[in-house]
């Protein structure tokens, strides 16, 4: 039986947390004395007012969450957070269309970073701040944040954590889940703070520094400028952001070991990180050489542009310093390949993740070996430990579902009326939470031109992608709702 009362209570509490975030933006708006102040006041009040009856409804609830309840909680948390998160945009009138407002909010929470805004600079500070904040909360996860601050989930916490964390498995760094969540958020906060300071040192205004730091560590990709990072025109800022995007693509449990335990050895022995570094280096070199051969750029500029692009796409951040659609087609084609790979599990990035790519590559390699040695027992080793058959099949299933979703979405987008390459790029960009795509959805354009149906499609794909496919898709299976 699904414990609806408890779910309602949790939703209510989540809305209170969102109210807290909105209040912060209200204060920001009050400080700048801008016209979005009243919209924030109304949104904050609505969110709080809906939260009260929900928590009240769950007052007598049994404090118990089953596995099914966990999946419902996580999926609905994201849908509802986005629903109330769009209120400031809509009420203030800066995004008067509900589809667009919801798209922008979901793109924020899922850290996709695709925007329907054609003139970001006209937004008041309060809304810009809220826009960056949605990504910051979504990056590490709404539920993980809640576990860190409120002990409301009790025993079910671990299920929720696993449902929201990225990657095929997650490592607890402390025995208790709420302590783990606190540490992860501490590192997350620390990274954001460090980047803010470094950006300030590069003469970026304080407000922009905070906003960009939040969206970098979340690997989200919302900028306060229409031209994204290119607007600042500063190599220093580009290198700082490249570095922090790269760090945010690393497994946070390993960052914990690195920063708090000083254990460098573990980091450089980790199979996934080695792959992550290798793939980033490989693609950077290819694109740098490509740029040197096909464009008038010098070595430094070519390296800076290519490393920024590769890290930005691989961590699924989606910041832009150059319109790569102007480059040789083979180079921007590569960006769609990099998207598939993704960064490390347990980070804020989306996509398939290196760990799954490693496991799949090794399974494929073993298949060839197996033909020559039919009786050999060939393990797939990650960090020296062989991967269990269950994990192997989960990884393969993940990839199959990912591919099927891409093809289904691609087809549907073309039915809606998109071109061949636009349709593909919108789907892969949404599902992997990247942001910019190719063609008409490339870095030089917003996604506003898409038909409304396409935007809703894209919203669903962003959510599915952020919660790593299975969590959301599970709710669509009949077996989940059957009472046995």
């Amino acid at each position: 039986m699904i414990n609806w009362k408890m779910i309602a209570k949790i939703m209510g509490l989540l809305l209170f947390i969102e109210t807290g975030f909105l209040t912060l933006c209200t204060l920001m708006s009050f400080y700048y004395q801008e016209p979005d102040f009243s919209a924030f006041i109304i949104s904050t009040s609505i969110t709080a007012l809906v939260g009260i009856p929900l928590t009240h409804a769950g007052k007598a609830a049994e404090r118990k969450l089953s596995r099914r309840d966990g999946y419902i909680v996580v999926t609905f948390a994201w849908i509802i957070f986005s629903l109330f998160g769009m209120l400031p945009y809509y009420i203030s009138g800066y995004i008067p269309n509900i589809t667009n407002a919801y798209f922008e909010t979901m793109s924020g929470f899922s850290t996709t970073g695709a925007s329907i805004l054609d003139n970001i600079e006209e937004l008041p500070h309060g809304l810009l701040f809220w826009r960056s904040m949605t990504q910051w909360i979504g990056g590490m996860g709404i539920v993980i944040f809640t576990i860190a601050v409120l002990p409301i989930f009790g025993v079910g916490g671990i299920q929720l954590f696993a449902a929201e964390a990225t990657g095929p498995k997650f490592d607890k760094i402390t025995p208790r889940i709420d302590v783990t969540a606190k540490w992860i958020w501490t590192i997350y906060f620390g990274l954001t703070l460090a980047e803010t300071i470094l950006l300030l040192a590069g003469d970026m205004p304080l407000f922009d520094s905070i906003c960009h730091a939040m969206t970098t560590t979340a690997t989200g990709g919302f900028s306060t400028k229409q031209a994204s990072i290119a607007a600042f025109n500063s190599p220093y800022i580009e290198y700082v952001i490249t570095t922090f995007m790269f760090l945010s693509g690393i497994n946070f449990s390993l960052l914990y070991l690195l920063f708090l335990k000083g254990s460098f050895k573990r980091i450089f022995k980790d199979t996934e990180i080695i792959w992550y570094i290798k793939t980033v280096a490989l693609f950077t070199i290819i694109i740098t050489i490509g740029l040197l051969l096909t464009s008038p750029m010098g070595l430094e500029e070519a390296f800076r542009r290519s490393s920024f692009l590769v890290v930005s796409i691989q961590t699924t951040c989606g910041f832009i310093t150059a319109d790569y659609m102007q480059w040789a087609p083979a180079l921007w084609m590569l960006t769609t390949v990099i998207t598939y790979c993704g960064a490390c599990a347990g980070s804020t990035s989306g996509g398939i993740k290196c760990i799954r790519a490693v496991i799949m590559a090794r399974i494929a390699k073993n298949e060839f070996k197996q033909i020559v040695h039919p009786n050999a027992i060939l393990p797939v080793r990650v960090n020296g430990v062989s991967v269990s058959p269950t994990t192997k099949s989960t990884v393969l299933a993940f990839f199959v579902v990912f591919a099927l979703l891409v093809f289904f979405g691609w087809f549907s987008m073309m039915v809606i009326g998109l071109d061949f390459d636009d349709a593909y790029s919108v789907i892969i960009s949404s599902l992997a939470n990247v942001g910019p795509g190719i063609g008409k959805c490339g870095p030089a354009f917003s996604w506003n031109a898409l038909p409304d149906v396409a935007k809703w499609f894209s919203i669903v794909y962003m959510l599915i992608g952020r919660l790593e496919l299975f969590t959301v898709l599970l709710l669509l299976t009949p077996a989940f709702w059957r009472k046995r």
Binding site: H373, P374, N375, A376, I377, L378, P379, R381, V385, S386
Partner: protein, 446 residues
């Protein structure tokens, strides 16, 4: 000397047998009466049918005046517990058999001594080391390094190509030769040679020498055509197989053939990527051919069954494998396996027993190795101030027949010994002797 042995398994019984022949007071403990019955009726020792981890039993057997307590039960943790109890009840020295490489690390030695476990013995690890030493140099039957390689013992079988056949040893080039022949194994007999002995075809000859003359030994033995070992096939995924593959040098490609599927999966967790696990029966010749036995340089048979190991090695030899190693746990089969032309024979019990045996020697012995099929002991003595051996040159010492000095290590440098050599205090002397004459040899060094 009163010695209590806990656990009448393979190592325990062999050790009890060995020590009781040495006229020591042996008490063998085990919970299984059937294991003890055979020992009780055949050897001069006392058996106690009880748990070696029981305090009351230990007290009753008189552990308080025991000189040595040896725990060689199958379970590591029971051995450790038994040793801790024994130490605290008054045993002077304890030895525990273990199954964990981590415990052997030198940094943990004092920690275990504090707990009451003085020495640790890991038979699988010792056997694995012997196997790797044996296959690293395919032309060598026995390879033993003294003092980190300053002096080396090499045993190799004489084939038709050898240059030193049928010549009395004193004619082999006078005293300038850079090696010393310490033992000859001919059929079932072991000879500690004198000047007028000759080397015959199919003898196994044991040389001591220093590292730079190894190629010379290889040349005079006529073994220059033997290949270096790259591909190794191990039959049977036992604990020794796991240890051997971990201990093998990087350039060796290892395949382990194991018939039990569950064990295969377990093995994948224990070894790394240079080892390939094959599920199948090592006696299936088609499987061996499929897995490239023709390109294999060494074949190691480590199943639990001695007969299977011997036959598998013979089959592998037929198919052209240069080097074969068989684990033979049945001691009576060892000399037979040897005469059947199996390269190296490994016996876990004897390796373990010789290591424990070293611990009871009164002299400051750092190394005793039991040459499994030569029936000889090799011991390394540290010469004490004023001991008998330092008084006269070696030729005037009157060493008994059956004892020879293979060489000595002075200030870390290995050197060979002639009749005129004077041994100095502080030297490490490598001594070879037949049977258990090591006790006699000890007198010269104390």
């Amino acid at each position: 000397m009163k010695i209590i042995i806990g656990g009448a398994g393979a190592v325990g019984t062999h050790l009890a047998e060995l020590l009781s022949n040495e006229k020591q007071d042996i008490i063998l403990m085990d919970e299984d009466q059937s294991k003890l019955n055979k020992m009780d009726s055949n050897f001069d020792l006392m058996t106690v049918c009880a748990s070696p981890t029981s305090i009351q039993v230990l007290k009753n057997t008189g552990v308080d005046d025991a000189d040595l307590f040896i725990a060689v039960m199958p379970e590591e943790s029971r051995n450790m517990t038994a040793c801790m109890l024994a130490t605290n009840l008054g045993a002077k020295k304890t030895v525990a058999r273990i199954d964990n490489y981590e415990y052997l690390l030198p940094k943990n030695k004092s920690f275990f001594a504090k707990l009451g476990v003085d020495s640790l013995i890991y038979p699988e690890m010792l056997a694995a080391k012997d196997i790797v030493d044996a296959i690293r140099l395919s032309w060598v039957r026995q390879w033993w390094e003294f003092n980190g390689g300053a002096l080396i013992l090499v045993g190799t079988k004489m084939r038709e190509t050898a240059e030193i056949l049928n010549v009395p040893l004193h004619e082999l080039g006078g005293r300038k030769i850079p090696f010393h022949i310490v033992a000859i194994k001919r059929g079932n007999e072991t000879i500690i040679p004198r000047g007028d002995d000759i080397i015959q075809l199919h003898d196994i000859v044991y040389f001591t020498t220093t590292k730079k003359y190894i190629p010379y030994i290889r040349k005079i033995s006529g073994k220059e055509s033997y290949p270096d070992i790259r591909n190794v096939m191990i039959m049977g995924g036992s604990r020794i197989a796991v240890r051997a593959s971990q201990y093998a040098p990087e350039h060796m490609q290892i395949k382990i053939i194991e018939s039990d599927l569950d064990r295969c999966h377990r093995l994948t967790d224990l070894v790394d990527d240079k080892v390939m696990i094959i599920n199948g029966d090592g006696r299936d010749l088609d499987l061996l051919l499929d897995e490239g036995i023709k390109n294999t340089d060494a074949f190691v048979a480590l199943t639990g069954n001695s007969e299977t190991n011997i036959l598998a090695c013979l089959a592998a030899k037929r198919m052209g494998v240069a080097k074969t190693v068989a684990e033979v746990e049945n001691i009576d089969y060892i000399s037979m396996a040897e005469s059947l032309d199996i390269g190296t024979v490994i016996n876990k019990k004897m390796i373990a027993a010789s290591h424990i045996y070293q611990m009871m020697l009164d002299a400051d012995v750092t190394n005793v190795k039991c040459l499994t099929f030569a029936n000889a002991d090799v011991a390394e003595f540290k010469v004490k101030e004023g001991s008998r051996i330092t008084h006269k040159p070696i030729k005037d010492m009157g060493l008994p027949k059956g004892i020879t000095i293979g060489g000595l290590i002075r200030n870390g440098e290995g050197m060979l010994v002639t009749g005129n050599t004077m041994i100095q205090p502080g030297d490490h002397v490598v001594v070879f002797c037949l049977g258990m004459m090591i006790k006699k040899a000890e007198k010269f060094f104390n």
